[in-house]
């Protein structure tokens, strides 16, 4: 095994014994070349914590982005056009909207949000771009948007809930001696149930909006 970046106290992700090359070494009893030596971005370049809190600035970025998106989608002409395109692209084209440009702009904004999340992951959590960044946040994020019913403000509580479930993994592992994949199973079951419960929306009385 080649040298690897020294252990950092605040690093998260796979335990050394869980990493693929370590497992291969244990299983095959042969030396395995580890991932390339990774450089750290340095503490001076890290994103710090919110003042007075133990939470890094990523939360602030997220909240601001949600608010901006909410205003953009619900209270601007671009947002109105976007909702028309999403509702019926053909009707939008008949109304003379530049459908391609609107969709392209929406995709670019979505990409910007995801890129910002990646930046926060590197600059506030990991300190370097390594393979443990691949943690399925992208897929879970798509589901968060579905469960929030495409409402940017509803994304905040849903995302906090999903993130909380993910973060409880370590606790489950220590206290109850469950494997860390328990969290994934829990998340999967929760997502499947919530998405399937979409079918009772509007059928049960408590979900029915009051008609004035």
């Amino acid at each position: 095994m080649l040298a690897e970046r020294p252990y950092r106290a605040n690093r998260r992700g796979l335990h050394a014994a869980d990493r693929a090359y370590m497992r291969d070494t244990i299983r095959t009893k042969q030396p395995v070349i580890s991932e390339p030596f990774l450089t750290n971005i340095g503490d001076a370049n890290m994103v710090g914590s919110l003042p007075g809190l133990d939470v890094h600035w990523g939360l602030g970025f997220g909240l601001v982005f949600c608010l901006v998106t909410y205003v953009l989608v619900k209270h601007t002409t671009y947002g109105f056009a976007l909702r028309i395109v999403g509702g019926n692209a053909r009707a939008a084209r008949l109304a003379g909207l530049p459908v391609g440009a609107i969709v392209l702009a929406a995709c670019a904004l979505g990409g910007a949000a995801a890129g910002l999340a990646g930046m926060v992951e590197v600059a506030a959590v990991h300190g370097s771009a390594n393979a443990s960044l691949i943690a399925g946040y992208g897929y879970a994020g798509i589901l968060v948007a579905f469960i929030a019913r495409q409402n940017p403000l509803a994304i905040v509580p849903v995302a906090v809930l999903v993130g909380g479930i993910s973060a409880s993994g370590g606790m489950l592992q220590r206290r109850l001696d469950l494997p860390d994949a328990t969290v994934l199973v829990l998340q999967g079951i929760a997502f499947m149930l919530i998405l399937a419960s979409e079918t009772v929306y509007g059928r049960l009385k408590i979900f029915r909006p009051e008609r004035a």
Binding site: D18, A20, R23, I26, R27, G100, G136, Y139, A140, I142, L143, F146, P179, D180, A181, T182, V183, L184, V185, L186, Q187, G188, I189, F191, M192, L195, A196, E198, T199, Y201
Partner: protein
Amino acid sequence: MTELGWWGVPIAVLGGAVRVSTPFLFVSLGECITEKSGRINLGLEGILVMGAMSGYALSYITGSPWLGVLGAGVAGLGLGLLHGLVCNLPRVNDIAVGIGLMLFGTGLAFFLGKPYVQPKAPTLPAMSLGGWSGAPQVQAALEVNPLFLIGIGIAVSLGWAFRNTRWGLIVRMVGDSSDAARAMGYAVPRVRTLCTGVGGFLAGIGGSFLSLYYPGSWSEGLSSGQGLMAVALVIFARWNPMRCFYAALLFGGAGAVGPALQSVGITSGYYLFNAAPYVVTLGIMIATCSPRRTLAGAPGELSINR
């Protein structure tokens, strides 16, 4: 040992294509059936991992890798039917449920597969088709797994069945116009559920190839998005089973370019060449699509086309 020199590159690419393409082939055939019936199952990634785990575990317990393959298929069938049944409920989005199933499948596989990371299970045998050649590189490239040949057989018969059988016609009709199918008296939800189940079965078998042949062990980093890429390959192949096979071969071959070049001494850009399959797929997709029409052969009932 014969020296092949530069000829080693295309031979190694061919060998890589044969070795790597099987899981892509099975998953994209499964997705092809599912999408022909008008549903998208993005959960095939989870089914693939679940199939890899259950195949490896069954092979370890029973000592027979073929029982493992069957078990992987049955596990995939179960998850596929789950997706099909959940999506039968009105107003449930099949893409969202698919992503949920992906998380659920991988999570369940990691959860149940913890005890099988260490033990060594019996793996599938390889068939040597390169005995006629003296060059060891050619022989290594033509080490074929029986599952690869089965996959070709399924692709051919599936393409034939879609064109020439009553069942194929029913599936295509359900996928192109559920109203027409309902008017003819066919139960649209049942056909779609069955198609999703069969698709899951094939994806599970694709997963068992990963854990029982190449790379040939079960670990949590086993699948690196093969299931999702196979879904893209179906669109790339325009919902045609035979073209799914070619697309899987092309994808596997493009992935083998980096290691092949490395073997003749070109090591710069190794990680860049690892991105070659994705670049090739994206490039061809962009080159062949048009904003003015939907893709030829696309089932009309797919939620992305409606």
